[in-house]
Amino acid sequence: MPVFKTPFNGYAVRFSPFYENRILVATAQNFGILGNGRLHILDLNPSGGISEVRSFDTADGVYDCAWSESHDSLAVAAVADGSLKLWDAALPPSANPIRSLKEHAREVHAVDWNPVRRDSFISASWDDSLKLWTLDRPTSIRTFREHAYCVYSAAWSPRHADVFASASGDCTARVWDVRDPSSSLVIPAHDHEILSCDWNKYDDCFLATSSVDKTVRVWDVRASRAPVATLAGHGYAVRRIKFSPHHENLLLSCSYDMTVCVWDYRAEDALLARYDHHTEFAVGVDMSVLVEGLLASTGWDELVYVWQHGTDPRAMP
C-alpha cells in the first residue's frame, strides 16, 4: 500500500466525503512543539501511489483538519496559534486561505464538520472551550465553556443535527446540544485525560472515548454510569478513535504505542487487528466513508499510510 512522506510530523488524516481517493493530512513541524504547519491534499493514484495535489502552509502547526460536508474543495484546519483556517483547493493559491477565524485563546486541538447540517463546524481548544462556527459568519456563533481543562476532541453526532460530544483533559466527556445553554450529559469516562471521542454511526446512543489510561470505553448515553465495553490492548495512550461508517461494531484506534488497532466492541475478544507500521507515535486515523474498509493513518514518523483493512499497510499494491 502506498505511503506518503510528509515533511513535517503528521497529526491528522481525513478522507474526503466527496472523492473516494482524496485525503487531507494535517502536519506540524518539530512534533508540533514549535514550528510551522502544513495542510496536504493528497490523491490516491490508481497506479498505486499517493501524490500531492495541494498543500498550504501555516505559521504554526496544524493539529487537526476536516473536510467540508457542503463544498467538495473546502477544508478547515485547526492551527496551534488558536485560529481556524479555511482553504479552498479550487481557488488559486493567491486567494488562499479564504478565512482565518481567530478567537480561541490557546491552541485549537480539534475540528469537526457537521455531517447532518453540513454548514457548521465545531472547534475544540486548549483554552477549555469549544466554539461553533458557520461558513458565512466571521465570528463564532456559540462558545461552550464548561470543561475544566483542555478540550482535546469534538465529534458531531451522525444522526442528530445539533448534538455533539467533547472529550477533555479534565477526564470527562460531555454531550452537548447546540440549542441548550449547558451540556446535556457529563460522563466521567476515565481517570485520566480523555484524548478522543467518536459517535457510533449506526446506533446514535453509543459514544466511544479513548484516554491516556490506554483504554477505549464505549458508553451508552442513556445509561452512562458504567461503560458498555472497555477495550484494553494498547500499550500507551490512545490518541484517536473512529467508529466505522460501514459496520456498527467496528472501531478504529491509534495510539502512542505506534499501532493502529481495529476493534469490535461487542465481541468477546474485541481486538480484531493490529497494525504496527508506524515507527513513531500514531496520531491520526480515519476510515473512509465512501470506500468500505479503507483505512488511513499518520504519525510522527512523517508518513501517511492508506490501506485496506486486512492487508498489510506496508505492502505495495
Binding site: 500500500m1 502506498p2 512522506k5 515533511p7 466525503p17 466527496f18 472523492y19 473516494e20 481517493n21 513541524q29 518539530n30 512534533f31 512543539i33 514549535l34 514550528g35 510551522n36 490516491l44 490508481p46 495541494r54 498543500s55 502552509d57 501555516t58 505559521a59 467540508s68 460536508e69 463544498h71 467538495d72 473546502l74 492551527v79 483556517k85 479555511l86 481557488l91 493567491s94 486567494a95 486561505p97 479564504i98 455531517p115 461558513l135 466571521p138 451522525p158 454511526k201 449506526y202 461508517p245 460501514h246 459496520h247 456498527e248 481495529v262 465481541a267 481486538l271 480484531l272 487487528a273 497494525y275 466513508v289 465512501l290 470506500v291 468500505e292 512523517e302 485496506q308 483493512h309 486486512g310
Partner: protein, 502 residues
C-alpha cells in the same frame, strides 16, 4: 453453775418436755459449781420409770461409747433430775465414773494410737477433735465423781496431746516423706538416665550437623560475596564505558553546535547578498525575512518548496547558497532532531532552526468559497430511499472507475489478523462485492433459511444498481437496522442481485 441451778429448777416447775439450754460445753467450764449443787438438791422421790429408762438408755452400747457429758445432758433434757441420773448411772452395770474413766482411758489410748499408726499427714487435724473430746472427758471425770476441775489436769492433757501430735508429725516428716521422695526419685531417675543417655548422643549428632550446615552456609555466603564483587566491578566498568561514550557524544554535539553557528552566520551574510542581488525573483510564498516581528534568527529554509506546486520559483534561490550543511533538504535537516531535543531547545528558549516565517492570513477575508462540483453524498448509515449521488467522479483528478483501483481491492490473504478477525473480514469482503460481478465470488451466506422472512424484513428493493457505482451498492445494502440483520440483508441482496445481474 448458775445454769445448773436454773437447769435443776426447771424440771421442777416445767415438765420434762422442756429442752435444757445447758449443754455439755457449758458444763465443762463451771469451776466450783459442784459444791453449790448441794443446796439445790430437791427432795422429791426418784421416778422409777425414768430411772429405768435412763438405765436402758445408758446400757445401750452406742451410748456407752459416747462421752458422759452428752449422756448426762441428754438425760437432763429428757427431764430427769440429778438424782435420777445419778441413780441410773449407778445402776448401769459399768459404773458411770469408771465408765467415764474407762472411756477416757480408751479414748486416750485411741488418740495415742491413732497418731502413731496413721500415716497420713492429716493426723494433726484428727488429733484436734480427740483432743477436744479428751479435754471434755477429762474435765467430765472429775465432775462426775468429784465435781472439781483442775486446770493443771487440762494443761497436762493438752501438753501430752500436743507433744504426741508434734512427735508424730516430726516422725512423719523425717522418716516417711524422705522414704517416699526417695522412692519417687528413684523411679524418675531411672527414666531420666535412660533419656539422658539417649539425648546426649542425639545432641552430639545434631550439633555436628548444625556445624556442618553452618560451615556450608558460610561457604556459600562467601562465594556470593565474591560473585557480587565481581559483578559490581563489571557494572562499574560498563558504567565507566558508557560515561566515556556520553562524553564523546557531548563533545561531538558541542562541535556540531559550533559548526551550526558558523553556518548560520554565513547564511545570514549570503541572505543579505541574495536579497540585494535578485530583483523580483521571490515567489509568492511568504518569505519576508526582513519584516519579521520575531526576534529570533531567520534561517532561510532553502528547500521547503519542493512539494508545493507554486513554489518552483523559490527553488531558484536554493542552489546558490549552499555551503553549509544546514542547507540540505529540510526533511533531512529536521530529521535528526528528536522530540526531546526539540523540547530541550524550546525550554532553553532557542527556536529550532528550521522554522519559516509564514504569512497565513487570508488575502481576502470575505472570499466566497468556490461552488461545489459535487452534491453532498449520503452517508452509509443514513436511511436512503434514493441515491442522491449520481456521478461520483467529476473532479479534475484522473479517476479510473471501471477498473478496480487498488484501494478497493481487498486481498483475502490475512497476514496480520488474529483468527477471530476472520469472521468480520469475511463479512466485510462479502459486503463490498455487490454487483461488480467479478471473478471472485463471495461465499454463500449461511443464514438464508427462510427467504420469505428475509424478504419481509427487507426494505422495498431500491432501483437496480449501476455497475460502476460501486459505492452506491453499499448504501443500498445498508440500512439502519442492526448489524446482524444488515449483514444478512446485504448477503441476501448480493445473492439476489447476482441472480438479477446474471
Amino acid at each position: 453453775m448458775a445454769t445448773e441451778g436454773g437447769g435443776d429448777e426447771n424440771p421442777q416447775t416445767k415438765g420434762p418436755e422442756l429442752s435444757q439450754p445447758a449443754s455439755g460445753i457449758a458444763r465443762s467450764e463451771p469451776t466450783d459449781g459442784s459444791q453449790q449443787r448441794s443446796p439445790f438438791i430437791t427432795s422429791e422421790p426418784l421416778r422409777e420409770d425414768q430411772v429405768q429408762n435412763a438405765v436402758k438408755f445408758l446400757s445401750h452400747p452406742k451410748v456407752r461409747g459416747s462421752p458422759v457429758i452428752y449422756r448426762r445432758s441428754f438425760l437432763e433434757r429428757k427431764g430427769l433430775t440429778k438424782e435420777e441420773i445419778d441413780e441410773a448411772f449407778l445402776r448401769v452395770p459399768d459404773p458411770s465414773p469408771n465408765a467415764t474413766t474407762a472411756e477416757t482411758v480408751s479414748t486416750r489410748q485411741a488418740n495415742q494410737v491413732s497418731p502413731s499408726t496413721s500415716l497420713q499427714p492429716q493426723a494433726s487435724v484428727q488429733t484436734a477433735p480427740p483432743v477436744a473430746s479428751q479435754v471434755g472427758a477429762v474435765s467430765l471425770t472429775p465432775m462426775s465423781q468429784k465435781p472439781r476441775f483442775n486446770w493443771s489436769h487440762a494443761l497436762i492433757a493438752i501438753g501430752v496431746l500436743s507433744a504426741s501430735g508434734a512427735g508424730s508429725a516430726v516422725i512423719f516428716k523425717r522418716v516417711v516423706l524422705p522414704r517416699l521422695k526417695a522412692w519417687i526419685r528413684r523411679v524418675a531417675m531411672e527414666d531420666k538416665e535412660e533419656r539422658a543417655t539417649k539425648s546426649l548422643a542425639e545432641e552430639t549428632a545434631e550439633a555436628a550437623k548444625a556445624a556442618a550446615s553452618a560451615a556450608a552456609i558460610v561457604a556459600t555466603a562467601s562465594q556470593e560475596l565474591l560473585n557480587s564483587k565481581n559483578e559490581d566491578r563489571k557494572y562499574f566498568e560498563a558504567f565507566m564505558g558508557m560515561i566515556d561514550v556520553q562524553v564523546k557524544e557531548m563533545k561531538s554535539m558541542s562541535e556540531a553546535i559550533h559548526k551550526l553557528e558558523k553556518a548560520r552566520e554565513q547564511e545570514k551574510l549570503i541572505d543579505e547578498y541574495v536579497q540585494y542581488a535578485t530583483s523580483n525573483g521571490t515567489s509568492n510564498n511568504s518569505w519576508k525575512p526582513s519584516q519579521a516581528n520575531h526576534t529570533l534568527l531567520n534561517q532561510v529554509r532553502v528547500n521547503g518548496t519542493s512539494t508545493t506546486s507554486y513554489g518552483a520559483e523559490g527553488q531558484s534561490l536554493a542552489p546558490a547558497p549552499a555551503p553549509a550543511p544546514a542547507s540540505v533538504e529540510p526533511t533531512t535537516a529536521s530529521h535528526p532532531k528528536s522530540y526531546m531535543e526539540i523540547m530541550a531547545m524550546v525550554q532553553r528558549g532557542e527556536k529550532p532552526p528550521n522554522i519559516k516565517e509564514i504569512n497565513d492570513t487570508p488575502p481576502n477575508p470575505n472570499q466566497p468559497p468556490s461552488k461545489p462540483l459535487i452534491a453532498p453524498r449520503t452517508k452509509p448509515w443514513e436511511i436512503t430511499q434514493q441515491i442522491s449521488v449520481s456521478q461520483p467522479q467529476e473532479n479534475g483528478q484522473s479517476q479510473d472507475i471501471s477498473s478496480e483501483p487498488w484501494w478497493r481491492k481487498k486481498s483475502v490473504k490475512i497476514t496480520e489478523l488474529e483468527p477471530e478477525g476472520e469472521e468480520p473480514l469475511r463479512q466485510l469482503t462479502t459486503n463490498d462485492r455487490p454487483a461488480s460481478q467479478r471473478t471472485w465470488v463471495p461465499p454463500q451466506p449461511p443464514s438464508v433459511a427462510i427467504p420469505e422472512s428475509a424478504a419481509a424484513i427487507r426494505h422495498p428493493k431500491p432501483s437496480p444498481p449501476i455497475p460502476d457505482l460501486s459505492s452506491g451498492d453499499e448504501k443500498m445494502s445498508k440500512s439502519s437496522m442492526n448489524s446482524n440483520v444488515v449483514s444478512q440483508q446485504s448477503e441476501i441482496e448480493e445473492v439476489e442481485e447476482k441472480d438479477d445481474g446474471v
